[in-house]
């Protein structure tokens, strides 16, 4: 996935939305900027498939040698897929933050929530501040 075409939350999650037969599905991960800031990541805890989340709610946690940080859902809906290989292959986050490093897929409840997220340029600006 091209980071320039993704949407971003203030809390550094990226989101790629696409339609399937039922509705809109959001693929979510965290940005390369966030991964670099976290430095050495040692643990990640992801939710179970079927979990319902609201926009802004924690969906997981990530530990680096610097800190334990929460991961936040940028949009509301049901988690329909989890990248279950990620916790055992954390180097993937550094190698491929926007493709292999995806974390969860959410079947969205409210497409209008996408309008509250930042585009790449706005996110870049946030990172530079």
């Amino acid at each position: 996935m091209n980071p320039e075409t993704l949407l971003y939350a203030e809390s550094h999650e990226w989101l790629h939305a696409e339609d399937d037969a039922v509705g809109k599905v959001a693929t979510i991960g965290i940005s390369a900027f966030a991964i670099e800031e976290l430095a050495d990541i040692v643990f990640i805890n992801l939710p179970d498939v079927g979990t319902e989340v609201n926009a802004g709610q924690e969906f997981g946690e990530i530990e680096s040698v610097k800190a334990v940080s929460d991961l936040y859902a940028p949009v509301s809906g049901e988690i329909i897929e989890v990248n279950s290989s990620l916790p055992d292959n954390l180097e993937t986050l550094n190698q491929s933050a926007y493709v292999e490093g995806w974390m969860i897929k959410i079947r969205m409840r409210d497409e209008s929530e996408l309008a509250k997220l930042m585009d790449f340029a706005a996110y870049q600006k946030q990172c530079e501040q």
Partner: protein, 243 residues
């Protein structure tokens, strides 16, 4: 900027962790940073957020100590002869070019120098060969404060909803519950703890350009801490959440 300075009394592990969490929540509402210094009323083992509870079996000397699980990451700590600090601060209210670890740890090194103790930050990349050590003080990351090759201060963070909670332990002297670790008393000489805290606070005031306002946890904060203590840190499901 004004910051609250709380010099607290000794308390048990669940209370100490709950008060740190309560103050972090308050900072999320007020934006006013809080730095707290405290002690532990009995030797206590604290586990990092993701550590397995069962790992404590590998550390014989602390088997009889009560255990609490922290909100923050990293390795286990045996809190006994130590001075503990916590800082709760909203993200974006401190200089980005310097990490909170470097600010707190660098100012501690200056303060220790005032008591003729030569300490410095380890300053090398994370030692991955020690990553799985049970005790935090056996691990090494760049910001750790060491005297010689002995780690005397380790800190950890929890980031949540725009607030960073950083707490750390300064090892004042060896404990019988973790005899493999040396403290400042063994590596140099016993500290004047009161003078150290005063110097540390002064150094922080300068590096952060803060005014430190002496404070205590108010009734609402204590009630919130009590509730967090009962609902989380005293609960077996929390302490043993990773078997």
């Amino acid at each position: 900027m004004d910051a609250r300075l709380i010099r607290d009394t000794a308390a048990d592990g669940a209370w100490n962790m709950a008060m740190d969490e309560a103050l972090a929540r308050v900072v999320g509402e007020t934006g006013v940073p809080v730095i707290r210094f405290y002690r532990w009323s009995e030797p206590t083992l604290s586990l990092g957020y993701f550590q397995s509870y069962g790992q404590r079996q590998s550390h014989q000397a602390s088997q009889d100590c009560p255990v609490v699980r922290r909100n923050s990451g990293g390795g286990a700590l045996l809190h006994h002869h130590e001075l503990t600090y916590s800082l709760a601060i909203a993200t974006g209210t401190y200089p980005r070019e310097q990490s909170l670890y470097d600010i707190l740890h660098g100012s501690l090194c200056q303060s220790l120098a005032n008591q003729e103790i030569c300490a410095n930050q380890w300053g090398r990349p994370t030692d991955t060969t020690r990553e799985s050590e049970f005790l935090c003080f056996r691990r090494r990351t760049s910001p750790d404060v060491v005297v010689g090759d002995w780690k005397i201060l380790g800190s950890a963070q929890r980031k949540r909803r725009g607030v960073v909670l950083q707490h750390g332990s300064l090892l004042l002297a060896t404990s019988a519950c973790a005899p493999e670790l040396l403290g400042i008393a063994e590596l140099a000489h016993p500290l004047d703890e009161n003078a150290l805290v005063n110097d540390w606070v002064d150094a922080l005031k300068h590096s952060l350009n803060w005014t430190m306002v002496p404070s205590i946890a108010d009734t609402g904060e204590r009630e919130m801490a009590q509730s967090i203590r009962n609902d989380r840190f005293l609960k077996r499901e929390w302490t043993e959440r990773r078997a």
